[in-house]
């Protein structure tokens, strides 16, 4: 580990204390020709196989249609994209699998079934399986011959995942674990051939994970749940009654299940961000096309400023979320490479990298799912009454989007995790926040420095603002941790505030760096519209950051201390005036001309 840590690798969470240059981040503009082909193949797949059947899927009485769609995805190799070649997959790099998830993410119920199979269904075996388990299961899962589901949640154990009651006991002959218990909300539950089941062996404190085949016996299930959205995705309660699982099907070690669940969810989270971006782009494109076609008061509604605002604001959020998601995706990819060079196996390296960037995964899950909900909400609004009709595509998009803030860890849990992980790493000294936090404390007491000459190069002022946001976070989080100590855990509102500041800062920095990198390659003039996108994001973000910080500070400080911090906050969130209305119009006008999301 030491040798790896010594290399100059960007670490997870480090964005908070480190200035990053455009060269150090990956941007979606850099996708290869091959990756662009991949994108097109996914779009074609939705166009040809999924979109003509979305309604039928939602109304299906049985699971055969979903199964046939997954089979078709399997034939194209989409299910095995991330599985190593020696186990029948394509061995694609991390960001390519993210791209597949993104572009299939616009596939409504199908997207959820796809993600559950390739993500939480397949990955536990890929990352934690032993050689026999991988040889036995991965080729079938990669081809789609077998479908997978992930059984963690129980009626009394949702967010508190380690509290499950499902039990596993060793049979008398020592050959089987006998599993008993009830699982709930299991995606692909009705047709899966393989279930990853989490259960506690005897009176263990922690979960263990098992690979359970449908034919092991003792598995029964309820009919599919009736849901608000993703109605075509099969979600069920599953009952295990004396289900006999051969001992060799224990995944990893006894009591390692919670760790597996957490680490697999890390990947699920950043992939969910990608899927949300895909769904957002599709919903916004629908809305733009509708706005161009629909006329009121003798003009297309897309010519109204209020509608332009919605189009531009949606685009800004999507573009920024994408910048941050693929930045993190590439960080993970680079870390995988580095860990492998240091001698780790493929799956060890992937796990270690995802652990390293768990903070970014949690942040992007929250951001992506909330951007999606913003976009589908405004899309319904742009459609007006038609948006409320079950015949419009955005009505489905609106309902289908909502689940994303709930599963793969609710957004509250992910916000808590984001801050918790940062504080833990700071405490352990893995993330050196002490130095920077002290510097901020000193700066608060010092007279503001007006003398420095302003750097007028592109985004110099904007990146300085981001630097200041980081100071604001260090100020707020540092003071909160100091004042409240262990009591901070009970002050979740403050933690949510800090999480919002972290997320907005990370995304703002990412979008600025993305556009700066574009400008360095294509020139400032050619990227003017992209600069608008980044600036509007920055000006939106500063409001969120300011509000969150003010609420937090006033919740735990008073008197002089409060005043000093509020003054500091004012300084750290100061921006030159910028006409966001005009910028949004430029963005909207471009998209209206393109008749779709086109960044």
């Amino acid at each position: 580990m030491e040798t790896v840590a010594n290399k100059n690798l960007i670490k997870g969470g480090e964005f908070l204390i480190k200035d990053v240059t455009p060269e150090e981040i990956f941007t979606p503009e850099e996708f290869t020709e091959e990756q662009r082909m991949l994108i097109q193949a996914c779009k074609d797949f939705l166009e040809k196989e999924v979109y003509p059947k979305v309604e039928e899927l939602d109304e299906a009485k049985d699971t055969s249609l979903m199964v046939s769609l997954l089979d078709k995805a399997g034939e194209l190799g989409l299910l095995g994209a991330g599985v190593p070649e020696e186990y029948g997959g394509m061995g694609m790099d991390f960001n390519s699998t993210m791209l597949i998830t993104e572009y299939l993410g616009a596939g409504h119920s199908f997207a959820v079934a796809f993600s559950a199979h390739t993500g939480i269904g397949t990955l536990p075996i890929q990352y934690y399986g032993n050689e026999e388990q991988k040889k036995k299961y991965l080729p079938k899962l990669a081809s789609g011959e077998w479908k997978a589901a992930y059984c963690l949640t129980e009626p009394d154990s949702g967010s508190d995942a380690n509290s499950g009651k499902t039990k596993a006991t060793l049979s008398e002959d020592g050959k089987y674990y006998i599993i008993n218990g009830q699982k709930m909300w299991i995606t692909n539950g009705g047709f899966a051939d393989v279930y990853i089941v989490f259960a506690k062996i005897d009176d263990d404190k922690n979960l263990s994970a098992f690979i359970v085949e449908k034919d092991f016996g003792g598995i029964t299930m309820n009919p599919p749940e009736k849901k608000m959205g993703i109605k075509g995705s099969d979600t069920r309660q599953i009952f295990f009654n004396d289900c006999k699982v051969p001992v060799e099907n224990l995944l990893s070690e006894r009591e390692n299940g919670f760790k597996i669940a957490v680490n697999i969810l890390n990947i699920g989270r950043i992939k969910l961000a990608a899927a949300a971006i895909g769904a957002s782009k599709a919903a916004l494109s629908h809305a733009i096309r509708y706005a161009n076609e629909r006329k009121q008061f003798g003009r297309p509604i897309s010519s109204f400023g209020a509608i332009k605002h919605k189009i531009a604001e949606s685009a800004v959020k999507i573009f920024a979320s994408e910048a941050a998601t693929y930045r993190a995706g590439q960080n993970i990819e680079d870390a995988i490479k580095m860990y492998k060079e240091a001698g780790m196996s493929d799956s060890e390296a992937k796990l270690e990298s995802l652990k390293q960037f768990a903070i970014e995964c949690a942040m992007m899950k929250v951001h992506g799912s909330e951007v999606l909900d913003y976009v589908v909400d405004e899309a319904v609004q742009i459609y007006g009454g038609m948006g409320y009709s079950a015949e419009s595509p955005v009505e489905r998009a609106y309902r289908d989007a909502r689940i994303n803030r709930i599963f793969e860890g609710t957004n509250e849990i992910n916000r808590l995790l984001t801050v918790d992980m940062i504080l833990r790493r700071a405490m352990k000294g893995e993330l050196d926040v002490m130095g920077p936090a002290m510097a901020v404390a000193k700066e608060l007491m010092a007279i503001p420095d007006f003398g420095a000459e302003a750097d007028t190069s592109l985004f110099a002022a904007e990146l300085k603002a981001v630097k200041n946001f980081k100071k604001a976070i260090l100020m707020v989080a540092g003071a909160a941790a100091q004042k409240l100590g262990k009591g901070l855990g009970e002050e979740q509102e403050i933690i949510m505030n800090v999480a919002d500041m972290l997320i907005e800062t990370y995304v703002t920095e990412s979008v600025l760096l993305r556009v700066l990198k574009m400008a360095q390659k294509q020139g400032e003039e050619a990227t003017a519209l992209y600069q608008d996108l980044a600036r509007v994001y920055l000006y939106d973000a500063v409001d969120v950051i300011q509000k969150a910080a003010r609420e937090a500070i006033t919740a735990f400080a008073e008197g002089d201390e409060l005043r000093v911090m509020l003054l500091g906050l004012k300084r750290f969130t100061k921006l030159e005036p910028f006409n966001v209305k005009a910028a949004r119009r430029r963005i909207a006008d471009y998209l209206i001309e393109k008749n779709e999301y086109a960044f």
């Binding site: 020709e33 091959e34 662009r36 082909m37 991949l38 097109q40 193949a41 074609d44 797949f45 040809k48 034939e75 194209l76 190799g77 989409l78 095995g80 994209a81 394509m90 694609m92 393109k594 008749n595 086109a598």
Partner: protein, 245 residues
């Protein structure tokens, strides 16, 4: 069996077409290019024949380097190799000359094309190539089966269908439903980059036509909707405004 599939590199069918200020060229800014839809059907049938009969499939495009992503896509769909004639495809005769020259050197059993390009919609290249090679050229072919040395085909004709047989070699212009369009699989995409793509200089430079200028069709006029109960207004408008009654 050796199959040559000729593909065009054309703007996606949903693209809004604009021209350069002098109206002499397509403004390619922001335009997404794809394999010509009819060519795509030809290619799909070729890939099916490859799987059924073990044929080899070569892609041919007359175009500049910017067409290579489109050629790679054809390779990803399952073609074995590709040839690009490095020239602007300035007119149908010029393109046909290039295709014929490649065909003469390689003895293909089948030369499959689209029924027509979708940028300039000439629908003539297959005919010219057939003439240049002295072999039959048929279009639009909607069904194609190969039995031994004979092609069995169905062709759309005015008011009906024509079933016909011909001995190979042949030049065919294809259209749906000759095959189902295909999505490249992941393995295909990953191997496309390593498949051979030969770039050749043009064989002859006879360009027989030159574009003076292009003109967009006039924008569609406003459409008026009249309440079905209001027949009088309709008649009034048809008489006095549209002046058709």
């Amino acid at each position: 069996m050796k199959i040559l599939v000729c593909i065009t590199h054309v703007p996606d069918t949903t693209t809004k077409i604009k021209f350069t200020p002098d109206n002499k060229q397509l403004d390619k800014n922001g335009v997404q290019f794809v394999i010509g839809p009819y060519d795509d059907y030809a290619l799909s049938r070729a890939i099916d024949l490859k799987n059924e009969l073990g044929a080899s499939v070569t892609i041919l495009n007359v175009g500049t380097a910017e067409t290579e992503p489109t050629i790679r896509k054809a390779l990803a769909l399952g073609a074995d190799d590709a040839i690009r004639i490095d020239a602007e495809p300035t007119d149908s005769y010029f393109v046909a000359q290039q295709i014929a020259a490649v065909a003469k050197q390689n003895n293909y059993d089948l030369i499959l094309m689209g029924r027509e390009s979708i940028d300039f919609n000439g629908g003539v290249v297959h005919g010219i190539v057939g003439e240049m090679l002295g072999i039959p050229a048929l279009s639009p072919v909607m069904k194609l089966d190969i039995e031994g040395n004979v092609a069995k085909m169905a062709r759309e004709i005015e008011g009906g269908k024509e079933y016909l047989e011909a001995e190979l070699p042949l030049v065919l212009g294809c259209q749906e439903p000759i095959a189902e369009w295909k999505i490249p699989n992941m393995r295909g995409i990953m191997s496309a980059r390593t498949k051979p793509l030969q770039v050749l200089p043009p064989f002859a430079e006879d360009v027989l036509t030159e574009t003076d200028s292009f003109e967009l069709p006039p924008p569609r006029k406003e459409c008026k909707l009249i309440d079905p109960d209001n027949v009088e207004e309709l008649i009034d408008l048809l008489q006095n405004e549209a002046k058709v009654l």
